[in-house]
Every structure is written in C-alpha cells, then in structure tokens.
Symmetry: C2
Subunit: 214 residues, 2 copies
DNA sequence: TTAATATCGATACAATAATACCGATATTGA
DNA sequence: TCAATATCGGTATTATTGTATCGATATTAA
C-alpha cells in the first residue's frame, strides 16, 4: 500500500505554504491559486502546484484552491492535529528558547519536560514546563511514551545524552549540538546545523561581493 | 575567471567535515582518508572525496589527506579567518542563545551588537555583547559596515525589521522568524526554518511507525 | 624487486528535484 | 451561446545531486 513517499524538499515547503495561507487577511478571497501563492513566496508556480497536489486534490482550473480546505489538508498531512510527545535535554539558552516557543505545540510537537544537569533535585519551571535533573531522565522515558528527543546540550555531552535517550526508547533525535551523532539504524536522526547554514550564507555573500568588485 | 560555484549541499557538509577533523584525538595519525571520514560521518566515500576536492588538492593515493592541511583549507575556504560583521535584532530567548554562542566567532561571524524594543536607552549587556534599543539601529548601521542582519523577532515584526536592515545597507538577512520575508534582489535571504525541519522529522517518524504496524 | 592493496581523482551512470510545456476545464464577458 | 482566458494536473525535459566504476599511484610487505 506504499503511497509514494513525499520528498524532503516538498515537505520543508509545506509548513511555509501553511504559514502563508494562515497569514492572509480574513477578508481575502475564499479561493487562491498556485500562481498567487508562488508570487507571494517567490517560488515557481509549477512547484507550488506539484507540492500542493501531494497533500490536497481540491484544485479547480481557473479558480484555484479553496483556502480553508487547503489549510485543513496541510495541517492534517503534517500531523498538526495529533501531537507527538518529546523531551528536551539541555536547558541552556537555546534549550530555553525552544521550550518557550509556542509554535511547536501548534505544530504537533508536545515538549513534555526538559532535563538539565544543573538543576536541583526538585527541578524548576521554565515557561510552565518542568526542568528536571538528568538523574530523572530514565524514569520519565520509562513512564511516558516519548518518541522524540531534542538535544540542546554542548557538543561534548551530546553523544552520551543521545545514547541515554535511545536506550530509553526514543525513536527520533532532533540534534541541535554542532556535532555528529551515532544512532542505531531504527532511530531517526535529524541534525539542525546552524553552522552549515552559516556556511551557505557567508559563502554566497562573499561570492556576491566579489562579483561586484569585478 | 568564474571558478565553478560550489553546490549548496557540499557547502553544508564542509563545516561538518571540519568539526569531525578537529574533534579527532590529538595523537591520531597525521593523514586521514576519505574512506575513514565517510565511515565516521556515515556518508558515501565518493561524496566525501568530491566535496574535499572542491576545497583542497592534497589527497594522495593510499595515504589520504594531511589532516592539518585539510583543516586549514576548509577554514580558509569557509572564510573562518576573516570575520564578517553582523547585528542581531530581537533579544528574546532565541536571540540570547545566538548572542552567547561562541561558535560563531570561531566561524567568521562577528555579532557586533544586538537590538531589542524592550531595552532602555542606555542598553544592557548579554554575554559581553551590547543590546541597544531599536531607535539606535540606524545609527549603528550607518557607523559600522554591517553586512549581515540576523532576525530573531516574532513573525509579525520581522518584515519591518528586515526593511530597516536593508535600508541600512545590510547585504544578507539570516531570518529565524517563521515567516516569509521580501527583500530586494541584491540582498541575500536565508531562512532558518525550524518548523520546516520539524515537518521532515515528524513525517519521517510517523512513516516509520506506520510501517512497523504492517 | 615485485606483487598486493588502499586510496585518489576522473568519468560515467543513476536518482532526485525543479521547470517547461500542453491539453483539459471552469469562469467571465461579449 | 461562444470566444477568451486563468488555472489545473499530467507528461516531458532539464538541472542538480549522489553513487558506481576504473585506471593511476603511493605504500607495504613478501
């Protein structure tokens, strides 16, 4: 029954379409065309159509897509209606930022609790979320069905934390530490490398500046 | 003289190679092969060789690359030795996290100052960096040659901040707000969309879980 | 000295992703 | 009613990215 798996690139664009649609004024038209979306987001219109085709089938020639339906289909496809539980390890600045970002909850990610080496036995609260000492990690993993582990510890601690999460049954790791992690095959690993992004940004910028000098 | 522009994908991997090489133990061999790197990072060895070929030319059959040279070539290529000035707007949790991440300085990004609506006239300091009120943004942009603007404000404020940065002469925008920004053609825009990453992670995870049920 | 082998770099091939093109169709307005 | 047109969705083409293969070469060890 394998439905054709969606490409990573398309998947990354879907939340962007969703944001765009949701940000449209309340009183805008009921229908919207791929052409309009593409213009708004500076994308190719065929790409938009193809992307949307993989989550919805409501497009009508000359009319476009029903905005409401499209939003619904996107949210549904992206799993925004049923939340996945996650825990976060490393309540430093970045960890705190992720903990207090309310957008995740709206997008199907429920960060149940955080863990940090530096907090006391009873734990503390950040933005209404419990931050517990590392010693309690295994207990929490055993008690709740946590599927996703978010790693925001310094790089030297990341692999060890990762191993503990995996041992506790986590099925996916979202790694913000700037280091490579090793996980068993059945565990999904997603690296969020700002350092990689920076490399792209600064290289492209310097290319552009060089070009101007010529 | 157009030297073949490097691909985005390769560019993203270069800092990863660099991290890997730098994390090797001091007493490890002087030379390292693409094969070894590929194994360590779970990449294809041909890909590693091709990537490295675009920044270095020191590979020797049966020997590999001289670690020191390779590190040097990577750093040089990535521009880690001459810093680019940046300012950051939005000193919330995420902004603070980026401000206090020392890795950027080592990677050629010099965050000169930050700006935030909520700070007083004289500003405050975070991790040794000045955070000034928004009113002083234009003055700073005029005074220093700031090339990169980092946006970590809430989405509703992002476009306006972006426009002020562009008007002030910034040449590249690194956008962490989960919204689409419009910039003039000559300005580089790089979106850091955690929401996109989350979409990939959670979709792949649910695919995997579904598969197990069959 | 010579055979075996690890590794490089180049070229060829395959997979993925983006874009162009085109016929079909719903709407608008003559 | 019918022509003009915007838009869809499918197919074809092109571009980008990743992987396999192979000859050349440096090192090791017989």
């Amino acid at each position: 029954m394998e439905k054709q798996a969606i490409s990573n690139q398309t998947l990354k664009r879907l939340p962007i379409y969703l944001n765009y649609l949701k940000a449209l004024p309340q009183d805008s038209a009921v229908n919207i065309s791929a052409t309009t979306i593409a213009e708004g987001l500076r994308l190719n219109e065929v790409q938009v159509r193809k992307d949307l085709a993989s989550v919805s089938s409501g497009g009508r020639p000359r009319v476009g897509y029903a905005k409401g339906h499209l939003i619904h289909d996107l949210e549904r496809f992206l799993g925004y209606d049923d939340a996945t539980s996650a825990i976060l390890v490393g309540a430093g600045n970045l960890g705190k930022a992720l903990l207090s970002y309310h957008g995740f909850a709206q997008r199907g990610l429920n960060i149940v609790a955080a863990f940090d080496e530096r907090v006391c036995e009873e734990g503390i609260e950040i933005d209404g979320k419990q931050v517990l000492p590392m010693a309690k990690l295994e207990e929490m993993l055993a008690r709740m069905k946590i599927l996703i582990g978010i790693i925001t510890v310094p790089d030297y601690a990341a692999q060890q934390v990762c191993d503990r999460l995996v041992a506790g049954g986590v099925r996916a790791i979202w790694n913000f530490a700037p280091t490579h992690l090793t996980v068993p095959e059945k565990v999904l690993l997603q690296n969020e490398s700002m350092v990689s992004s920076l490399a792209v940004l600064s290289k492209r910028l310097s290319e552009q500046l060089d070009q101007e000098e010529e």
